[in-house]
């Protein structure tokens, strides 16, 4: 979706403000929101692409008004509601009510280290050959899907060069929609600053994005 999350090139947000000796979390509720989000992710009731879409799928005003962990929390609430794992009545009461549907799995404390160190691998076996190779010129397609996508607006329609072939990866556009992993070849595609930002751009700038094959056409 063309949402407020897709921020590359947007003006007006002001300077970057680094915080010296920044802690991992800035409040207790951030710790808890982080932990319940990761733990619920481990239940297997949704995948990472669905999580990302749940965070970004809101009005630009709402997205920009929320802090980072507020977005995580809003995304978690949306996923729990959509899957009927937590009801509005329960949220209002602050307690569980009535029947509880079992989830696929529950993350136990003694599994945490192993689950974190294993991660979730996105590479899949491929039935097809990669269409592009390093050095090939490609154009990012002019796509504007209403659902989840990982092709930032600032590269759409622009010419770039294949720099690396990463392998065949789970395709977020399908995976977020519950339409299966639909693995696709993934490439690092390099764009010149002037191609993206015009003649006034820094002449020594190059920007890469990781782009799945359906995002690209030969040029």
């Amino acid at each position: 979706m063309n949402g407020a999350h897709d921020m590359g090139g947007v003006h007006g947000f002001g300077p970057v403000e680094p915080e010296p000796n920044e802690p991992a979390f800035h409040a207790e509720w951030e710790r808890r929101a982080f932990a319940i989000t990761v733990a619920m992710g481990a239940t297997g009731e949704w995948n990472i692409d669905m999580s990302r879409f749940a965070r970004e799928n809101r009005s630009p005003a709402d997205y920009l008004a929320k802090s980072y962990y507020e977005l995580w929390f809003a995304g978690l609430e949306a996923l729990l509601a959509a899957r009927r794992l937590v009801s509005a009545e329960e949220l209002a009461a602050g307690h569980a009510r009535g029947n509880t549907r079992p989830v696929k799995r529950i993350l136990a404390a003694d599994e945490v280290d192993q689950v974190l160190s294993r991660g979730t691998v996105a590479v899949r076996e491929s039935a097809t050959r990669a269409r592009f190779k390093p050095g090939d010129r490609v154009r990012a397609r002019n796509l504007h899907p209403g659902g989840h996508t990982r092709l930032p607006r600032y590269v759409r329609g622009h010419l770039g060069t294949i720099e690396r072939v990463h392998g065949c990866h789970v395709f977020p556009d399908s995976n977020a929609a519950g339409a299966g992993e639909n693995p696709q070849w993934l490439y690092a595609v390099c764009f010149e600053g002037r191609e993206l930002w015009g003649a006034e751009s820094d002449p020594k700038l190059k920007v890469s994005v990781d782009a799945w094959e359906p995002y690209l056409e030969p040029a």
């Binding site: 921020m7 590359g8 947000f13 002001g14 300077p15 970057v16 403000e17 680094p18 915080e19 920044e22 802690p23 991992a24 979390f25 800035h26 409040a27 207790e28 710790r31 808890r32 929101a33 982080f34 932990a35 319940i36 733990a39 965070r55 920009l64 802090s67 980072y68 962990y69 507020e70 929390f73 978690l76 937590v86 949220l91 602050g94 307690h95 569980a96 509880t100 989830v103 529950i106 993350l107 404390a109 945490v112 974190l116 160190s117 991660g119 979730t120 691998v121 996105a122 590479v123 092709l151 600032y154 993934l186 020594k204 700038l205 190059k206 890469s208 994005v209 990781d210 782009a211 799945w212």
Partner: protein, 213 residues
């Protein structure tokens, strides 16, 4: 009220903010519900928090960079198979399943961003800082990286190519800064003490030996 387009609120800012109290209450209520339903194990939640507050952080990445600086074979492995090279030091997993190391040279400076959300190599750098997740960095890193670097106090020569990596997939990038001058004969441990988090994102440089404690 803070939001993603500014720095996030600090703990002491919360005390009087009714909106944040509302968030605090809602998070607490949801955690209670999920616990009562048996969907989350409270001990697992504590373990998750403890892991990223005390165990997994940028010192992991610093050890990887220090080894690359001092061991040519390791550096070669990091170039060819960063995921494997990093895993061989015991750092692997969530948000670092597919790693690529991008090396700075006298001609090229690498810088990493996630314009669409907050993708970041957790296993080697820990959780991302607020500025990395904020709108100012996400919007400008790809269009005006030199301006962003100046806000970090870093002025690069005009002829240095700036190479920005926008982490739009599950691939995670680790910038490998150049080894500081005057560090000949340093042990890996001494070298690692020079490697800052920001130098591995590309918004900073390693410390010089004179700056090290």
């Amino acid at each position: 009220m803070s939001s993603i387009h500014k720095a996030e609120p600090h703990e002491h800012d919360h005390a009087h903010g009714s909106e944040l109290s509302e968030t605090e209450l809602r998070v607490r209520a949801l955690e209670t519900i999920l616990t009562e339903k048996g969907y989350v194990d409270p001990a697992a939640l504590d373990r998750l928090i403890e892991t990223y507050e005390t165990k997994v952080g940028p010192r992991n990445g610093a050890r990887v960079v220090a080894r690359a600086w001092s061991n040519p074979e390791y550096r070669e492995r990091l170039r060819k198979d960063a995921t494997g090279a990093i895993a061989s030091m015991g750092f692997a997993g969530r948000q670092s399943e597919h790693m690529i190391a991008v090396e700075n040279t006298p001609k090229i400076h690498n810088m990493v961003v996630c314009t669409l959300c907050s993708c970041y190599p957790w296993a080697v750098l820990g959780l991302p800082p607020v500025w990395y997740k904020s709108a100012p960095y996400r919007s400008r890193a790809v269009a005006d990286p030199r301006g962003v670097l100046r806000e970090f106090g870093l002025e690069l020569p005009d002829e240095t190519e700036i190479r920005v990596w926008d982490s739009t997939a599950e691939v995670r990038y680790l910038a490998v800064p150049m080894r500081p001058l005057g560090t000949e004969g340093f042990s890996e441990e001494r070298l690692a003490a020079l490697v800052t988090r920001d130098s591995m994102i590309g918004t900073g440089l390693p410390k010089s030996p004179a700056e090290a404690p």
